[in-house]
């Protein structure tokens, strides 16, 4: 079961940018696109763990700052020909607030 946690106001995340959510176990990058969609991925590139939150966001993709892999924000999948996947988390916007869905474990551990 997801457990929705209020993390920030939508305005706290820059458009075409990201913020890092530090939980007790992992860092999660929450991205905001030009059209105000939000996505959340583990802040770790499938290539060599580069912090995806620091990359350039374009459409629904982020380019990793370390070696330019392109990661799809919705699925966490690297775009071909690169292969790999970064874990994605549910997020939604309600009344201008961004809610992150954590499965019991991450939230509690």
């Amino acid at each position: 079961m997801s457990n929705w946690i209020d993390i920030a106001a939508l305005e706290d995340i820059p458009q075409l940018g990201a913020r890092v959510i530090k939980t007790d176990t992992v860092d999660i990058a929450v991205f905001r696109t030009a059209s105000d969609q939000v996505f959340a991925l583990k802040d770790e590139c499938p290539h060599r763990k580069g912090p995806l939150s620091q990359g350039i966001v374009h459409d629904t993709t982020v380019t990793c700052p370390l070696h330019n892999w392109k990661i799809d924000l919705a699925s966490g999948q690297a775009k071909a020909p690169d292969e790999g996947c970064s874990r994605s988390y549910p997020v939604k916007i309600e009344n201008g607030r961004v809610l992150l869905g954590l499965i019991g474990q991450e939230a509690a551990a």
């Binding site: 075409l16 959510i21 966001v57 700052p65 020909p81 939230a107």
Partner: protein, 812 residues
């Protein structure tokens, strides 16, 4: 809604490439049906020569297997020749009478080998060299027969002859003229080629005109105009190709030597497009894949209703795919009135290079024996670079700007498969060759994407291009004649820079709209470039876009591999005080900096700082009077100095003081790429000023100014710009040169390649024209007003706070 129907006639290289490009742009737009006369899916025709030579199999050269068509929802009909196009009824009719309707039609029927219509030309055993069936015929003949005659000593003929020899036949090449490959080679190179082919067992009959093919049902020999005869069980005619336009012509589409198309690849019937060897564009028919692929891109763009691309013709280059023979040719290599020729000949080593110049620009090149620099010359040719500055050494190759650390490895073919090519990503030659062959790659970009070779520092780009060239022959495209800025646009950097200025485009949305960008947000490669161009062109007006900057410039530190950052405070001219050092030491202790290092740029790097700590650490440093060193930016980096007149017994001027003044003038400025200065106090040059972007060497009578140096990936020694007498002049020249570079260079192009591209003379002309120089310097000083705001202090005072703070959550 019903999709539009697109029919492709000709399942060959140009046609299917167009579909690939179209799928990238508009995957869902059409119902596509492809008709191919051959029984095979799309294969790499240029690899037929290696197949014949036994170096590859037919399976190796398939580019798109049947699954590819199925996966992309394309209907493929093989063994299906189209007999007629009914343009009024908008349908095509195949040999078996089947009718297929179209909304748009793409003709890519390639060409046919020209068969000389001498008596006997239709005997069994007389063929062209065009498709898999021809190769199969040749391979079968080599098992049962001995003597082969190849008519035509051009590229295709020689590749066929080489393959037949490899299959154990004795081969005679018959050529009408007295030199081989006359369309690609001049006499000396052709002579070298002939000698080395003879060594491999090829025989030649030069200046021989074929009169008749003799024999019964099957060929038994060839008879010449002078009455002589030779025996032959197999005759391969490789005397040229003819655009295959019968189908188009029969349906009333205007044809001349080929199907006539305009710059958007449209025939005279606007619903009908044509690409490939069957077309004639601006009077030219092409017979190599590189230009056809450019055509494919343009046709796809229009089929996708984007309507912005234009094909403007191509300059082509040639390589011969005979393993072990290195040959390159491009442009107009036979000099005419008013041209100049540079030649390097080393018969003992089997090396010959010739460049034909007009007004110090390369018009054509022929190389034999050592072709590593072919791609470089070809680039200079297409860019129209003025080569006067390095004319004296140009024939020795690009080695003074050569592949660092790869030294003499000019013969790419000689390298073993496990030779490491890309040092950054550990990619070996074998990996690259494999990827090219297995995945059917043709361009540098594709090789980069699939293997990562040359995708990091780029120093091995030349080697990777050579591997591409030697693996796929001249079909590879080094770089299209006009290189788009990135995948979001068809326009080049230069066009965009000009557009921003001429049309007063002042923000990114305006630029993307004006140039009809394909992706609304752009991508990670165009956004930083556009942000820079706008900043450089509209200082004081354009609002910098943080989200379009690479993270280093957004976080004002270099990101490290573990996600921490480094901090490098500026030390003007390399000078520092005990108080500066104390402040740095204190900050290091306070923020647990794991490592300090003196950099190659005469200052101190503090590694491993947590991002969250940056603003506080910067506050401590800026309170002590230190500012950002921009060690992370495409910006002014360092001004290196030596001890100079104040202390050194040889010093002629105050190099340290001048360095400080230069750094005070230039710090904070954003550049197309990083920019480094140095001032040495005498010609001993302890500050290494002659490998900097702008270097000053002090002499007794004044200051020598040097430009365009680089100490990095490709070491390049500066060019001497001029000598001046006063510090004021040094500052003015420096400001003017810097501004010229800022306004005109392409993003991520350092001064060294920029100076080589535009030519030293061009820069001298601008610098020595007093009005221009002063205006440039003035524009630089104006833009510095807005640039010299210390980004560290701003952030220490609270700007962009969100960039540095994580949001912490914890399960409650």
């Amino acid at each position: 809604m019903q999709k539009e129907k697109l029919v492709l006639i000709g399942n060959g290289m140009a046609g299917v490439r167009t579909l690939e490009e179209l799928l990238k742009l508009a995957p869902e737009m059409y119902d596509v049906t492809v008709f191919g006369a051959e029984p095979h899916p799309n294969y790499n025709r240029i690899m037929l020569s290696p197949v014949l030579a036994g170096e590859k199999t037919v399976d190796d050269i398939v580019l798109n297997d049947r699954a590819w068509y199925a996966d992309n929802g394309i209907t493929l009909k093989t063994n299906a020749k189209i007999e007629r196009i009914d343009r009024a009824g908008r349908k095509v009719i195949s040999a078996d009478g089947e009718e297929t309707p179209y909304d748009r039609l793409l003709i890519a029927t390639g060409s046919n080998p020209f068969i000389i219509p001498v008596p006997g030309h239709d005997k069994q055993g007389v063929i062209g060299f065009r498709d898999i069936a021809d190769v199969e015929t040749m391979l079968a003949a080599s098992k049962n027969y001995k003597h082969a005659v190849v008519i035509g000593g051009g590229l295709l003929g020689l590749e066929a002859a080489n393959g037949l020899i490899k299959n154990g036949m004795t081969v005679t090449v018959v050529h009408l003229l007295d030199t081989l490959m006359e369309r690609q080679l001049d006499r000396p190179a052709a002579a070298l080629l002939k000698a080395s082919l003879e060594q491999r067992g090829m025989s030649f009959l030069m200046q021989a005109q074929t009169a008749e093919i003799i024999g019964g049902e099957r060929v038994q020999g060839v008879k010449f105009a002078d009455g002589s005869e030779i025996a032959a069980d197999l005759v391969v005619m490789a005397v040229g190709i003819r655009p295959n336009m019968t189908l188009a012509q029969g349906s009333g589409i205007h044809c001349e030597r080929g199907i006539v198309v305009n710059d958007t690849m449209q025939t005279f019937d606007p619903r009908v497009y044509a690409v490939g060897e069957c077309v004639q564009h601006r009077g030219t028919c092409y017979g190599l894949v590189a230009p056809l692929f450019e055509q494919a891109k343009v046709a796809a763009n229009h089929l996708a209703h984007l309507g912005i691309a234009r094909y403007e013709g191509s300059v082509t280059s040639t390589k011969l795919k005979v393993t072990g023979i290195d040959l390159f040719s491009a442009g107009e290599f036979n000099e005419t009135e008013g041209d100049e020729t540079l030649v390097l000949q080393d018969p003992a080593a089997g090396v010959y290079k010739k460049l034909v110049l007009k007004d110090n620009r390369i018009k054509g090149a022929v190389m034999y024996g050592d072709t590593l620099d072919g791609t470089w010359y070809f680039q200079l040719l297409r860019e129209g670079t003025d080569i006067s500055a390095f004319r004296k050494t140009i024939l020795f190759g690009q080695h003074d700007l050569g592949d660092a650390g790869h030294g003499d490895e000019t013969r790419i073919a000689a390298l073993s498969d496990d030779a490491e090519i890309c040092g950054c990503n550990g990619v070996c030659k074998g990996d690259i060759v494999n990827a090219i062959v297995k995945k059917g790659l043709f361009t540098l970009e594709e090789v980069r994407a699939h293997t990562k070779a040359s995708s990091s520092c780029g120093s091995c780009t030349g080697l990777v291009e050579s591997i591409l060239a030697s693996t796929v022959g001249e079909g590879y495209s080094a770089a299209p004649s006009k290189k788009p800025m990135c995948a979001c646009t068809e326009h080049s950097h230069d066009e965009i820079i000009a557009g921003i200025r001429e049309h007063e485009l002042k923000d990114m949305t305006a630029v993307r709209k004006f140039f009809e960008w394909k992706n609304t947000d752009g991508c990670a490669s165009c956004r930083p470039a556009l942000n820079y161009y706008l900043l450089a062109n509209w200082p004081g007006e354009y609002q910098d876009d943080a989200q379009s900057r690479f993270i280093n410039e957004r976080a004002h530190g270099n990101i490290q591999k573990d996600g921490t950052y480094s901090v490098v405070p500026r030390m003007f001219g390399g000078l520092c005080t005990p108080a500066d050092l104390r402040a740095i030491a204190d900050a290091c202790e306070k923020y647990d900096v794991p490592e300090m290092k003196v950099t190659g740029g005469q200052r101190i790097d503090l590694f491993g700082v947590k991002k969250e700590d940056l603003p506080a650490m910067w506050k401590d440093l800026t309170d002590a009077g230190l500012v950002s060193g921009h060690a992370y930016g495409k910006a002014l980096r360092t001004v290196k100095t030596c001890a100079g007149k104040n202390w050194c017994r040889f010093g002629t001027q105050d190099s340290t003081g001048l360095g400080v003044k230069l750094e005070q003038m230039t710090w904070g400025s954003w550049m197309p790429h990083k920019f480094k200065l140095a001032v040495s106090g005498c010609p001993r040059n302890c500050a290494e000023a002659t490998i900097k972007d702008f270097g000053v060497v002090c002499v007794d009578s004044g200051y020598e100014l040097h430009i365009g140096g680089n100490g990095g990936i490709k070491v390049r020694v500066t060019d001497l710009l001029c000598k001046v007498e006063t510090e004021e002049e040094v500052l003015e020249y420096c400001a003017a040169f810097t501004q010229k570079y800022r306004e005109e260079a392409r993003y991520l192009e350092r001064t060294a390649p920029w100076v080589e591209r535009v030519g030293l003379q061009y820069i001298k002309d601008a610098m020595f024209d007093e009005t221009q120089r002063k205006a440039l310097a003035e524009r630089f000083r104006y833009s510095q007003q807005f640039a010299q705001i210390d980004p560290w202090k701003e952030r220490a005072d609270g700007a962009e706070a969100h960039e540095f703070r994580k949001i912490e959550i914890s399960a409650a």
